[in-house]
């Protein structure tokens, strides 16, 4: 067992180190899965809000999903690796690496009036290793380290998260205290989404990927049709992301409620919810809705409105459709809009269309070729991109 622990930890750290170089932002979970499998993010991820390293269930669920499984390639030991727990399932270890090849930024005129496209580059988006230790049936301690946070690609991005969790049983509320992200809307796996960004400056997220602040969260998922969470954090990183709207050290409060209507006969799962976040001069409201069915796929939509008291206002929407051809081959399409106005700036109007394929050639490795079409008030950029995602 110790050999396996060392092997997993070393390979995880190697993955994490390899991905450190350039610019980076962490990615997050796949909300599609909550709609097709009728499960919560907390079922499969160490972080109950989703994103990053998997727990035992999440690890097991994907261990044999791939166009070609490891045993077919003669790697029997990899094929048999379907458990990431140690010490009698008290310790879970996971990791998540995501790289993207894309043109970042916008086209521009050079001094001679010639149009210059941004360079295509490899971007490590996520590079996270984490663990969860279940000290007692009602008490656990979890932490993850995201070395790309050193690169400070986005203001307010964290280097780590970690918390102590108290939950006497799954039917009762869960208290998390530590470095956490206050719950808001849906957490996606792609950091380029407009929905959490400021459309007036597309490089600036309002809630950065892997944003965390010190505080506490109380969540309830005791009923199969309802989840509620409220959080209060000291908004130090939120201040870095929104210096005009949030003073350092102010309290940030968030609340989110989601209901999960299901039709047993049709096997259709859905969610419908709303979110609120407020800190100093920043206020955000969000609404999310999703519909899904096993083997059919899912459709989800979200809208986020934000305001900073001096007069900046943004409104963004997202619609995403995912259709699995196979468990290891999923077609995906996304449409996003973003609008914003602020004193002294031209009004922003952004449209984004993405079509892609989530392809899992071998278990725990995903390739995602995508075609992205982004149109703003001042430019259009259409490009192909490629994501590589590996997890354990």
């Amino acid at each position: 067992m110790m050999q396996r622990l060392i092997a997993i930890t070393v390979s995880g750290l190697a993955l994490a180190t390899l991905a450190l170089p350039i610019l980076a932002v962490p990615a997050q979970a796949l909300p599609r899965m909550t709609l097709t499998t009728s499960s919560r993010c907390s079922n499969c991820h160490i972080n109950p809000q989703g994103s990053g390293p998997r727990n035992a269930m999440g690890f097991y669920a994907t261990a044999a999903n791939g166009a070609v499984t490891w045993d077919k390639l003669g790697w029997q030991k990899f094929h048999e690796l379907s458990d990431n727990t140690f010490f009698g399932e008290k310790l879970e270890i996971g990791g998540d690496l995501r790289l993207q090849m894309a043109k970042l930024g916008s086209p521009r005129w050079d001094n001679d009036g010639k149009l210059v496209e941004p360079d295509r580059m490899f971007i490590p988006m996520q590079d996270q290793v984490g663990l969860n230790f279940k000290a007692l049936p009602w008490l656990s301690v979890a932490a993850s380290f995201n070395p790309i946070g050193f690169l400070k690609s986005y203001a307010g991005q964290s280097l780590y998260d970690g918390w102590v969790q108290i939950q006497p049983s799954v039917e009762l509320p869960r208290l998390r205290v530590g470095m956490i992200q206050p719950g808001f809307g849906v957490r996606y796996d792609d950091h380029t989404l407009i929905i959490r960004r400021n459309p007036l400056a597309l490089g600036t997220p309002i809630l950065p990927p892997f944003y965390n602040d010190l505080g506490a969260e109380l969540a309830y998922e005791g009923l199969h049709w309802l989840s509620l969470d409220v959080a209060a954090v000291w908004a130090n990183n939120l201040h870095l992301a929104n210096p005009d709207g949030v003073a350092s050290g102010k309290l940030a409060l968030s609340a989110r409620a989601t209901i999960y209507p299901q039709t047993q006969d049709w096997g259709i799962n859905s969610w419908l919810g709303g979110s609120f976040l407020q800190s100093d001069k920043l206020t955000m409201y969000g609404g999310h809705v999703g519909l899904g069915k096993s083997y059919w796929g899912s459709i989800m939509a979200e809208a986020v409105w934000s305001q900073i008291a001096f007069g900046r206002e943004t409104f963004s929407t997202l619609v995403q459709v995912d259709h699995p051809l196979k468990e290891w081959l999923v077609l995906t399409g996304r449409w996003e809009t973003g609008n914003g106005h602020s004193p002294g700036l031209a009004e922003a109007d952004v449209q984004s269309y993405v079509a892609g394929i989530q392809f899992v050639p071998v278990p725990n490795i995903e390739l995602r070729p995508e075609y992205r079409y982004l149109k703003t008030s001042s430019y259009l950029l259409a490009q192909y991109t490629l994501q590589l995602h590996a997890w354990f």
Binding site: L115, T204, Y371, S378, Y379, Y384
Partner: protein
């Protein structure tokens, strides 16, 4: 001679390898669909003459005054930094394209979005307040000015 039945597992394996190759082939295919457009006019190299006796340049008669202008398709800012000197800079911050204003009290150019500061030669003198590190200078224009006649030129 009896034919050997095709093994479904082998067929499935080949099918999946084919799907992988198909996904790989998608990338170069999509390469042909790439495009980029700009909805702003390209910058032109122009020379503009000004006379402080005439509007709107009369706004620059007093030291510390500034004037928003658009020359050669580019938004810019002229600033009377001293009796003898007028400077010209583009008004778009190289950080996140915020609006540049002249802070008369601090005698510096400041972005209204994240408060990045620039010297009159475009050098970064204060970093954006969102934690980013900015190294790109604010583009400047060549300005000549004769304080005696109140006339000058701007080259973009």
């Amino acid at each position: 001679m009896p034919q050997t039945p095709r093994q479904p597992e082998r067929r499935q394996f080949l099918l999946r390898i084919g799907a992988a190759a198909g996904c790989g082939a998608l990338v170069p295919l999509l390469h042909g669909c790439e495009t980029a457009e700009l909805y702003t006019l390209p910058p032109l190299h122009v020379e503009v003459t000004f006379d402080l006796a005439k509007s709107p340049y009369d706004a620059l008669k007093t030291v510390g005054a500034s004037l928003d202008v658009t020359f050669g398709n580019v938004d810019g800012l002229l600033v009377r930094v001293s009796d003898a000197q007028i400077i010209g800079v583009t008004r778009i911050c190289p950080h996140q394209q915020g609006n540049i204003k002249w802070d008369k009290a601090g005698a510096t150019l400041v972005c209204t979005t994240h408060a990045a500061k620039f010297a009159s030669n475009g050098a970064v003198t204060g970093q954006p307040n969102n934690g980013d590190t900015l190294t790109t200078m604010l583009p400047t224009w060549a300005v000549t000015f004769d304080a005696a006649t109140g006339k000058g030129t701007v080259q973009t």
